[in-house]
């Protein structure tokens, strides 16, 4: 029985039930979706002991690879699916109380986004990656464009206030379709080119399965480089790598905080894993792409280092709190990409650790930022003076998330960056550039998060003007507290006891770096071969 595959079906079933369900009640989607993830998480935990012992290639339709499509369940993939399901549950819990008017279709699309991300993590087939990328893309464009205003998730008071009508008159008030359109055009362009690359690769080898492709005889150097570049383009875009990240600002500004959290935490994690799967498992130890893999690695390293600096630099200058977080995402994903491109055990362990740490911290930060924006009625952090004084717990969450991103000792980001830098130093050579970029980025992050934190805890400020923040408005609700508390505690726990996920990290890095024994071998043994 290949019953591991059921894990993908929980969110799909929820999505399928929503169109009919919304006829009964508009709340149907909002209430049903969290249940799907609770079920999914329980199922994940049930599978975990078995998968930790032995990875499994799960087939669809009883056709063995390379003839059919396979999903690969290993500690790495199942762990990441569990991670994104947890993040999805937290985000939905946050939405449960903090949004009044989201339609049923929004939750349908959210479920499809999570499904596609989980599918991207699990699948072992190139064309399947293309299909899942398209699902994730269409779901995210729609949800971004559905954002209610540029600030996203603003309170009712603010939308009536003078400041809002001023900004609504300037084009900024309704800019969400523009951000989504830019994202759509770029994403569509690159995914179409990816399809061309996949077809070229198929015409050279006759298979679409990643494991089979990697064990093929050698491709011509220039041909391999061309197809790999075409195939990697949309993944560069999704992981916000340097020349492909011009959509980030507009899209994240348009998105509501909970959606921004999902894009950064869930879709970003999936994109990074696909990048690792293609560049490490498919190109890594294989003969097929041997001629081009070195060039691609150098390209990745340089682009990663560039996006670290550009992302953190943009975040440094930004005044809109959500965009600060979005730009810092570019930098953090750059670090993950650098770790993947260096491809030694330490660097890959660091990259995976950073991926988890960044995902959790970003969701925490976006949810808290949404909370702040909602209370303060403004998207700009300079106008939030003294907000954290009135709400010390939320302020503490923000500081914990920011410190985890920076890599302050005793928080998860520290160990991640440490291992990453250790790996880069071991590799030597060009990786030195990456070390410099990471260190510089850490300083930049420190400065801008310090400024924001200082502003949040400053005396006076927002409470004095206009009375926007009434006494009864600062009460927390459980929908905000439970997810954020869980995320903050897990960041601290991973920082204090990094050994907790050591076993997982080791086996995950081992799988990515030793594809012959841990990935390709398993699938080839099950599949018949040509």
């Amino acid at each position: 029985m290949n019953r591991e595959v059921v894990i993908l079906l929980f969110p799909i079933l929820a999505a399928f039930m929503i169109p009919a369900g919304t006829i009964i009640s508009q709340k149907f989607g909002r209430l049903l979706s969290p249940l799907a993830y609770v079920a999914g998480i329980i199922y994940c935990l049930l599978l975990m002991p078995m998968i930790m012992v032995r990875s499994r290639s799960v087939i669809i339709g009883n056709w063995l690879p390379p003839f059919g499509i396979n999903l690969f369940f290993s500690p790495l993939t199942l762990g990441l699916v569990l991670f994104i399901f947890l993040l999805a549950l937290f985000i939905l819990l946050f939405d449960l109380r903090n949004t009044e008017s989201k339609k049923g279709q929004y939750y349908l699309l959210f479920n499809l986004l999570v499904t596609a991300s989980a599918g991207l993590i699990l699948t072992g087939d190139l064309f399947n990656i293309f299909v899942f990328l398209e699902i994730a893309g269409i779901a995210s464009f729609s949800m971004i464009a559905a954002g209610r205003s540029s600030a996203g998730g603003l309170s009712a008071e603010y939308s009536k206030s003078a400041e809002y009508s001023k900004s609504a008159q300037s084009p900024q008030g309704a800019q969400s379709p523009q951000g989504a359109l830019k994202y759509l055009i770029q994403a569509q362009l690159t995914t179409l080119l990816m399809l061309g690359g996949i077809a070229l690769l198929y015409s050279a080898t006759g298979v679409l399965n990643i494991a089979f492709l990697s064990s093929f005889e050698a491709l011509k150097s220039s041909f391999a480089f061309l197809t790999l570049l075409l195939i990697l383009l949309p993944i560069f875009l999704e992981s916000k790598l340097f020349p492909f990240n011009s959509w980030v600002g507009g899209a994240y500004q348009g998105a509501e905080p909970s959606l921004a959290a999902a894009l950064s935490g869930i879709a970003g994690t999936a994109a990074a894993l696909v990048l690792a799967r293609l560049t490490l498992t498919m190109m890594g130890s294989s003969s097929a792409f041997a001629a081009a893999s070195e060039k691609i690695r150098v390209l990745l390293l340089l682009l990663g280092a560039a996006s670290i600096l550009i992302g953190e630099g943009a975040a440094f200058r930004e005044k809109n709190l959500k965009k600060v977080l979005a730009y810092s995402s570019i930098g953090q994903m750059g670090m993950v990409v650098v770790g993947i491109s260096i491809a030694n055990t330490d660097a890959v362990r660091g990259a995976l650790f950073l991926l988890l740490s960044h995902g959790a911290a970003k969701v925490l930060l976006f949810l808290t930022a949404g909370f702040f924006i909602n209370k303060a009625g403004t998207p700009f952090w300079k106008d939030m003076k003294g907000l954290a004084r009135r709400m010390p717990l939320a302020g503490a969450f923000f500081i914990i998330g920011a410190m985890a991103l920076m890599g302050i000792p005793l928080l998860s980001g520290f160990w991640a960056k440490l291992e990453l830098i250790r790996g880069a130093v071991t590799a030597g050579g060009l990786a030195g550039v990456a070390v410099a970029a990471i260190l510089l980025a850490t300083i930049l992050e420190g400065v801008y998060f310090m400024r924001i934190g200082h502003s949040l805890f400053e005396e006076g400020g927002i409470t004095d003007e206009g009375g926007v923040l009434k006494e009864d408005k600062i009460r927390y609700n459980a929908a905000y507290l439970i997810p954020c508390l869980a995320l903050a505690l897990s960041l601290i726990a991973a920082g204090l006891f990094p050994d907790l996920i050591n076993t997982w990290l080791s086996s995950a890095a081992h799988e990515l770096l030793n594809s012959q024994t841990d990935y390709t071998g398993l699938i080839l043994k099950v599949g018949g071969g040509l």
Partner: protein, 117 residues
């Protein structure tokens, strides 16, 4: 030779579409260029499965006795079926976004938005 001609015409469409996406500023034109690019990619994918003298991949009495050698490759065709439907979905969504964009900015071009404040 025939395959090469098919591939060549596919590439010419792909490059035209790419040119359009890069240089047009009317959003509807950009979307049309993307559709041209998509048509080109679809042609490329199918032409990579074309073999000269190949038959349509449908088993009939006259061909099933032979060993199935002179068929064209059915797999790229299946992939293109998927790609066409995906193209329609994106086009529909993009047009909806363009309509929404026009409502808020009275323009079918990207407008330069004022930076914060």
């Amino acid at each position: 030779m025939e395959t090469m001609l098919f591939i060549l015409s596919a590439f010419s469409l792909i490059l035209t579409g790419l040119f359009g996406v890069l240089t047009r500023k009317n959003l509807v034109k950009i979307l049309l260029s993307l559709n041209i690019l998509e048509t080109g990619i679809n042609l490329l994918v199918v032409s990579l499965g074309y073999f000269k003298g190949g038959k349509a991949p449908i088993l009939t009495n006259s061909v099933s006795a032979a060993q199935g050698i002179n068929f064209v490759d059915p797999l790229p065709q299946a992939l293109v079926l998927t790609s066409i439907v995906i193209g329609l979905s994106t086009t529909a969504l993009a047009l909806t976004l363009i309509l929404k964009h026009f409502r808020s900015h009275q323009a079918v071009e990207f407008v330069k938005l004022e930076v914060n404040e």
